[in-house]
Every structure is written in C-alpha cells, then in structure tokens.
Symmetry: C2
Subunit: 142 residues, 2 copies
DNA sequence: AAACTACATTATAATTATTCTAAACTATTG
DNA sequence: CAATAGTTTAGAATAATTATAATGTAGTTT
C-alpha cells in the first residue's frame, strides 16, 4: 500500500504537479497487488463509483495521457475500438483471451528471447511487443 | 495483375457475392506488387480518387469486414485511433515506424521462432503477433 | 502571506471512427 | 423471369477521444 507522499514524490519526479485528482487516480491505479489493464472508461467508472468527489472525464483522459507520456503507464497494442493501458511498464507481453476479451500479462520468462535478425536501416528499436491471441480449445473454432 | 474472373471465383469461394463494389475493392487491394497496409479511410480515399463511380463508406466498411471475417484480409494490432488491415494474410510480424506512422512487413525469417513456454490452461493459441516499434536513431529521443 | 504565473481542471462542444437503419437494389435460384 | 436472400446506400446514431475557453490551484516571487 503506497502512501500519498510516495505518489507526490513520484509525480514531482516526472515533472507533474501532484494535484488532488492525479493523486486519487494514482491510488486507483497503483495501489494494487497485480498489474492493472484498463480502458479510460473502466478507470472513469471505478472513480465515479469509489470516490465521493467526481473527476471530470477530460481530466481522466489528460492524466492517463500525461502518465503515459512520462512512462508511468504503458499503452498496449490490441485492436479494439478503445485504448488499453497497463500499470506494468516493464518489458513484457500479453495474452489476449478472445472469448472474454481479457488481457493477461505474460511473464517475460514465459517467452524465449525474441531475436530480430534484420532491422529497418537508420532506425532503432524502441519496443518489441508480442500479443498472443488465445481462445477456448474446442472444435468448430472460426 | 489478377483478372476480374479470379476475383469473382475467389469471392464465390468465400461465400460472398461478387458485386460491382466488391470487385472494385478487390482490384484496389489485391492488384499490387507488395502487400498493402491500410485503414478504411485510406481505402475510401483511394477509391474516391481513382474510381469514377463512388462506393458508399458503409459499403467499404462492410466489405473490409466481410473480407476480414472470411480470412481474405487480416487486421493488425497497433495502438491507433483507427484499425489497420493487411492484404498479407500469412503469419508474419510488423515494424511500426513511429516517426512516419508506417507499418512495414517483417519477413518471417527475420525473426527467430517465438517459443511460448507457458500458455493459459484450456486455451489454444490462435495467433502470435509481434510488433516492433522503431524510430529514428538519434539522441534526445523520448 | 499576497500576488503572480504557469499549469490543471472542468463542462461542454466538436470531431472522428464506426455501426445502425430501413429503403432501394441486384445476384442467384428455381 | 419471378422470388428471395444477400447488398448497397445515405444518413442518423453511437462511442471514443480531443478541443475550447473559463475557472481554479500549485509553486514561486516578492
């Protein structure tokens, strides 16, 4: 359970002012056992249900994007009409359960190192993301 | 250069009626040397510029989704406000150039086989997609 | 601590991507 | 060629996200 002061320091170190709203959002996002995968809408819903005072949807968007830009959150590549974010900012990959539309972290140790033999000239690799789509192991699968 | 008859046969084999609109879209998508990465909007623009007769945007959506559902197109997972599609339906991976927002096919031989040691129980793996984000190789990179 | 300034928050409007609707149209089958 | 099931269409509807511009607040200066 992180303390408020820790969030204040963290935000300051990122060059973000520790406002009331941002601290609340930190609590919701980072006071968890497991990493958290969410859409802006998920987050807004949690906030509006848990918290007495409301936070404007625009602020939720602003905050999530500020956190992402500063590397405090990670955006995940799945094809979806919404954007997914992840509180786990370490290099890791994902399973995507097509039955339930759920994202599941994939331990880095569970995938053998990915070796890219050829790169685009003049470019450096910023990230390598693997998305493993899974579905229930039945017949008549599409 | 594929002939109209080939598209007609292909569509029939997929259980899709070969309509005038679908055949035009086939020409735009599949009469190319290289595989083609596009958004619906890209495609709609090409159609409206190249073709005399217009195709309704709804039809472009319908067609692309029909093609995708039948496995004649592939949808690519990148984080974006739009969906990207690919005329290359074989198993392959992508580079995403963050400078230009361009998708580039990654030859399967250019990535060593990806070994997943642990899977989700009761689920089968439908696909493994790797997205390698690259950007220009300068200092002061974010 | 008052005043200042740059950054944040807010409600709302605007925009963008996509899906829905229901009427008109057309490919296929008998 | 008539019937019908699948398609196309324009436009409305929805959903996610971004822009706007006024108000508020954190951090700094005096």
């Amino acid at each position: 359970m992180l303390k408020n002061n820790e969030f204040i320091d963290k935000l300051r170190s990122l060059g973000l002012r520790p406002t009331k709203q941002r601290l609340k959002i930190c609590e919701v996002l980072f006071n968890r056992e497991k990493t958290f995968h969410f859409t802006i809408n998920d987050l807004a819903k949690i906030i509006s249900e848990k918290l007495k005072e409301k936070i404007s949807l625009a602020t939720v968007y602003n905050t999530v994007h500020a956190f992402k830009d500063k590397g405090y959150l990670k955006e995940i590549s799945i094809n979806s009409d919404k954007s997914y974010f992840d509180t786990n900012i370490t290099n890791h990959h994902h399973f995507f359960d097509e039955d339930t539309n759920q994202l599941i972290d994939c331990d880095n140790d569970d995938i053998e190192k990915i070796n890219i033999k050829k790169n685009i000239t003049g470019k450096k690799i910023n990230s390598i993301e693997v998305l493993i789509k899974v579905a229930s192991d039945n017949q008549n699968q599409n």
